[in-house]
Amino acid sequence: MPDYRDPFIVGGPVPPKRFIGREREVKAIFDRLASPAPSPAGTAISGEARIGKTSLLHYICDSQVAEKRGLPPEKYTFVFIDSHTIVPFTPDSFWRYILKSLVTQQVYDPRHIESLLKDGRKKVGSFELDTLFERIAQEGKLVVLLLDEFERVVEHVSPDNPEILSLLQALINRPMRGLALVLSSREPLSALFCDFRFSDSPFPASFTSLSLGPFSRAEADKLIETYTRDTGIRFSRTEKKRVYEVSRGHPYQLQSACHELFEQKARCHQF
C-alpha cells in the first residue's frame, strides 16, 4: 500500500538528509574552513526569513557531510548555537554557553575548560579564551562556531564599545587558527552594523558575505523528486512548473505549495 504521508517540511529547518541544492554556498563555506589561512577569516550568511539559513547551518555541521567534504571529525568540531537560546543574553553567558558546548563535544581537555567555568561569579576573560583556542590550534584542531540568529548577539552589544565583537574578531584572526565562525542573520553584516563605531578594523571586514536567494528551477525539481520518492505520488512536469511559479523558488513557499498539492493528490488517490 503506498504511503501517502506528506513528506514536505513546512516551518522548521530541514534535516541534513533532506537538504537539497545550495551547492555553491556549501562549497564556498567548506573551502574556507579547509583553507589554512582564509582571508577574510569568517563567513556571514544572510537571507530573508525562511530562505533556509538554519537548514544550511545544520547541513554544514553534520559530521557525515563534513567528513565527505574532507573535514574529518577528529580535526573539525562544529558547534551550532542558536543565539536565541542564550538566555538571559550577556557577554559572559555567551562565552559560558560556548565553553559548555566545547566540554560536551570534548574538543579539548574538559578539566581545563571546566576550570574556566568553575567560578560563576568571575567573568570568562579574553586572555583565557585566547589561550584556549590557541591550545586547540596547537593540537591541530579547529572549532567551527555556527552562530544562528546573530542579530540577537548584535542587539546586546554597545554600538560605541562592541567588546564581544572585537573579541570574536581577534579570535578568528589569530595566526594559529583554533576558531572559525559562520554567522547567520536576515540582514547582511554591513546593514546590521551600520550604526556601529569600530575603532580600526570593522567587524564585517573579517567576513565573506554569502547571500541566500531562492532555489533555481533545477533545485526545486530535485527537491520534489527526492521528497516524493517512495510516497506513491508523483508531480507532473506542469505541476512542478506551477509550484515553482507560485513559490518563485522560495524554499518555504515551495515546500508549502508542494504540501498543498500533495494533500490534494493524496485525497484524490484515496478516493
Binding site: 516551518g11 529547518p13 541534513p16 542558536d82 543565539s83 537560546t85 554557553y97 540568529e149 536576515r186 494533500e263
Partner: protein, 276 residues
Amino acid sequence: MPDYRNPFIVGSPVPPELFIGRKREVGIILDRIANPAHGSTAVSGEVRIGKTSLLHYISSPEVAKKWGLPPEQCTFIFVDSHAIVPFSQKRFWHYVLKSLAARKAYEPTNYIEDLLQGEDIGGFELGELFDRIARDGKLVVLLLDGFEHVVEHVSPDNPELLYLLRGLINRPARGLALVLVSSKSLTELCQNVRFVGSPFPTSFTSLSLGPFSPEEANKLIDVYTQGTGVTFSVRDRDFAYYEISNGHPYLLQKVCFKLFQRHVEKRQKEGRSENE
C-alpha cells in the same frame, strides 16, 4: 433493556475513543511530527471548538503508534499553560522537566532531577537535555494548551521564553517538537511582540480548527447513540446541525444531549402509559 445513559459530552474534552472527525488536522499534525524534521504545529480555533480534545486524541498511544510514534520512542507531554501558577519562565521549565521525569522521557532520570536542583535552568542545559533525548533515538512532543497564557507573560521587547522554545525545536538534533494551542492564531497572538531575527510564528505550521462538516456531525451522532436504543431522525439531525450548532462541536454535543434527554423522557412517558 436499552441503556438510556446520555452519551453526549458537554463542556469537557472528549476522550480519544469518542473522538470523531478532524482527519485532515490529525494527519497534518502527526505527519509533521513523524517526518524526519519532527515539525511543530500551532492550532487555533474559537472557544470549545475541540482544540483540547484534538490534543488528547493525537497523544493517545494507539493513535500515535499508527504514525510510527510508539510510546517507547515518543513521549507526549500535555501541559495546560494555565496550570502553571503563578506563571514564570522558571516555573514553566520546572513544570516541563518534572513532567519529563515523571514520564521517564529520559533516563537516567537523575539527570533531569539534577537540573531541577540547579539554580537556573538555562538554554544550554535544556538544549543538551533534548539533544541527549534525540541521541537516544527518542522524541518529546510538548503539547501546550492555552498558549495565550504563555504569550501573556513574556516581555514584548524581549520574549526570551519564545526565543528559547523556537531555538529548542530548531536544533540539529531534534529531540523536541511542539504543538501549541490557542484561541487566536499565533501570528495574531504575537503581533505586539518584537522579535529580533526570526519571528516565533514562522517555525510552525498553522492550523485553524473550524466547525464539523455535516458528515462529521452525523458520524458523531451515529457513534454516540450506538447501543443506547435511541435513534436520531433526519429532522433531529438537521435541527441539531443547521438550526442550532452550525457544526460547532460544543453546541452540537449540547443540543444532542438535550434531544437525547427528550427522547428518553418520551419513551419513559410512553412506558408509564402502557403500564397504566
